[in-house]
């Protein structure tokens, strides 16, 4: 019980620590509103005013983008914090405490995510209603499935970031790798639904983990089908578990070869 309590308190402290900044919150909401507005203008200008493409109308596309962006914006700082802590040597303080370091990072990340989700969710809903109104063809009974997929997308994103963050044990600077992964997640599912990509790229993307961060939940929200739910969610689970295991593994390897910087 005490063991569980410590991680719960880490989550809570993470929430507290992230609630401090109202300016941060306002800037985040503003950014969210701005990118969605730009994308909406883009879609309207580029290919249609009415009509649709690959089953997406402007209304659905805006809601797709809101759902996808919500997952991406509600991420934790785990990459940056791992990267900085390993580089600065501050990790020394985190290592000699009686807890699992990976679980500690996870709990702290969940605190951050909770705060961001709590602000991004109402902002996203509000923007959607203001810009394009209610989602066309919304299937209320599919919402639990969308929630599950969203949670999995967020978790997968967390563990991928944690995994890349912990490569700092080996590499002097892994920001480039992080950047590449971010761009891949952006191209494969955030910027465009996979359906808009050439067939061959779409098929490859469906094997890669990146699309299972934002594409899966956004796709399920805007055009739910049981068939897609059953094909995508297991892969989301699989990739999440895989990256969680990889993070734990890379941590246990990395910490053994740790060379605490700064003496």
């Amino acid at each position: 019980m005490r063991k569980l309590r410590k991680y719960l308190l880490v989550v809570k402290t993470g929430i507290n620590s992230n609630l401090i900044y109202t300016a941060d919150f306002l800037a985040g909401a503003l950014f969210f509103a701005l990118v969605i507005f730009i994308f909406m203008q883009l879609w309207e200008a580029i290919f249609f005013n009415d009509g649709s493409m690959e089953g997406y109308t402007v209304n659905r596309l805006v809601w797709y983008y809101i759902a996808a962006e919500m997952v991406i914006l509600s991420k934790s700082d785990v990459f940056r914090s791992m990267n900085e802590e390993i580089k600065s040597g501050n990790i020394a303080y985190k290592l000699n405490k009686p807890y699992s370091f990976v679980l500690y990072q996870f709990s702290e990340g969940m605190g951050q995510i909770a705060v961001r989700l709590m602000t991004n969710l109402p902002v996203g809903l509000l923007l959607g209603f203001l810009y394009v109104g209610k989602l066309e063809g919304l299937n209320i009974s599919a919402l639990p499935a969308v929630v599950i997929s969203t949670m999995l997308g967020i978790l997968l994103n967390f563990f991928m970031d944690a995994f890349i963050g912990m490569t700092s044990f080996w590499t002097e600077d892994n920001s480039a790798l992080y950047w590449i992964v971010q761009k891949l997640s952006f191209m494969l599912g955030l910027f465009l639904p996979l359906e808009f990509l050439p067939k061959i790229i779409r098929e490859i993307a469906l094997y890669l983990p990146f699309s299972y961060i934002a594409y899966a939940p956004a796709r399920l929200l805007t055009s739910f089908s049981m068939e897609e739910f059953l094909s995508m969610v297991p892969i989301q689970i699989l990739y999440t578990v895989l990256f969680a295991a990889l993070s734990a593994l890379i941590y246990s390897r990395g910490v053994r070869k740790l060379n605490v910087n700064g003496g």
Binding site: R2, K3, R5, K6, L9, V10, T13, N16, S17, I20, Y21, S88, G89, N90, A92, Y93, L95, N96, K97, P98, Y99, E172, R256, L258, N259, V260, N261, G262, G263
Partner: protein, 379 residues
């Protein structure tokens, strides 16, 4: 790696290290673009031996100072003893546990303060971090409340408890850092440069707290510092390391009095009438009518003073001890080691001859190379 068994070094010993070594493998990169590309394709490594066979025993309740210039291996040793870094070879037992293998069990019983790093949540008031640490150390909430009250009073940080850490001054923050590290009543506390960057008053306060902690809670204190004052005011034993090896292990008293058998005389003449009286004196430095001499304690002082008075009319004279900083600085640079049986824990440290012609300092003698620098080892 040989293993030590608990109790091997006696029940009263809390730290035992035998022939501890740590080798880092560091990627090397020569300057220039082509070399950068080359190091990408075929990286070259160099092995750096940060700790080179350190053996040490620390009895319970001791206040021990671990000294050495930057890069001597102090922090690396602390990090091995606390289980953060794995030793390359050698063996150690801290509170009967092997830090490399039993880091978690050990972490319940030790505390640490790294002067240049922080364990408090930056955006939250210290109280939040204290509560979290209490939970991390699995403390009973009633006990934790009691302990927090106790520590808040001891450290006089009551008025800081609800201010976000980022708004605290360095001195205030360090007091809170220190308080945070002893919440769980550690048996040993490792302090890695706890007074770095602090002003004189805060330094004194921190030293006072360390002493009280040692006396009242019988906590063993393992301290590294660049600040000789820390050592002089706090510690009973000093271990000096350089290039990853122990060059001296002695009681602070012995260290001090070994050198204190000599005094430095600064004298200023209005005029010197009889130069022959100065012949044969150990003059370290001379500039016009001012000079600095070294003399042996006891009869030496009287004799030298008499001769100085006969040499001319004296305007000003000061007789002082050799500063601690100078002593340590000399040991760092291997100058003060002649006649010392290094690497022995001995209380008899008399009869040391200082290599006097290297005493080139201008006035107070505090300018020795590595000692006394509180702004050292930066990140």
């Amino acid at each position: 790696m040989t293993t030590l068994r608990d109790g091997e070094a006696g029940n009263n010993t809390v730290i035992v290290a035998r022939d501890l070594r740590k080798v880092f493998r560091t990627k090397i990169k020569k300057e220039g673009f082509t070399q950068s590309v080359k190091s990408l394709v075929k990286p070259e490594y160099r092995e750096i031996e940060a700790v080179h066979g350190i053996s040490l025993e620390v009895p319970r309740g001791e206040l021990i100072a671990f000294l050495g210039p930057n890069g001597a291996g102090k922090s690396t040793t602390i990090k091995m003893l606390t289980g953060i870094l794995n030793a390359t070879s050698g063996s150690m037992l801290v509170l009967g546990l092997d830090p490399g293998k039993q880091r978690k069990s050990l972490s319940f019983r030790i505390g640490s303060v790294f002067g240049q790093k922080s364990q408090l949540w930056f955006h939250l008031p210290p109280m939040d971090s204290f509560r979290l640490l209490g939970a991390i150390y699995e403390m009973d909430s009633k006990l934790l409340d009691k302990r927090i009250d106790e520590i808040v009073e001891l450290f006089e940080i009551g008025e800081l408890m609800d201010i976000p850490v980022r708004k605290l001054s360095l001195g205030q923050r360090m007091r809170c850092e220190f308080a945070a590290s002893i919440l769980h009543k550690p048996e040993i506390i490792f302090l890695d440069e706890p007074t770095i960057g602090l002003d004189v008053l805060v330094k004194q306060k921190i030293r006072e707290l360390i002493t009280r902690l040692n006396k009242e809670e019988k906590t063993t204190i393992f301290l590294t510092s660049h600040d000789i004052g820390d050592v002089e005011h706090l510690c009973s034993r000093a271990v000096i390391i350089n290039h990853g090896k122990i060059v001296m292990d002695s009681s602070v008293k012995a260290l001090k009095y070994g050198y204190l058998k000599k005094k430095v005389i600064d004298v200023k003449f209005a005029a010197i009438s009889n130069h022959t009286m100065l012949e044969g004196l150990n003059i370290l430095k001379r500039k016009g009518l001012s000079m600095k001499l070294e003399v042996d304690e006891g009869d030496g002082i009287q004799e030298v003073m008499l001769r100085l008075m006969q040499a001319g009319s004296i305007v000003d004279v000061t007789i002082s001890d050799i500063p601690m900083e100078k002593i340590i600085g000399d040991i760092y640079t291997d100058k003060g080691l002649e006649g010392i049986n290094s690497n022995t824990h001995t209380d008899s440290y008399a009869g040391t001859d200082m290599d006097t012609d290297r005493y080139t300092d201008t006035d107070t003698g505090t300018g020795s190379t590595t000692a006394g620098n509180s702004g050292g080892e930066g990140e």
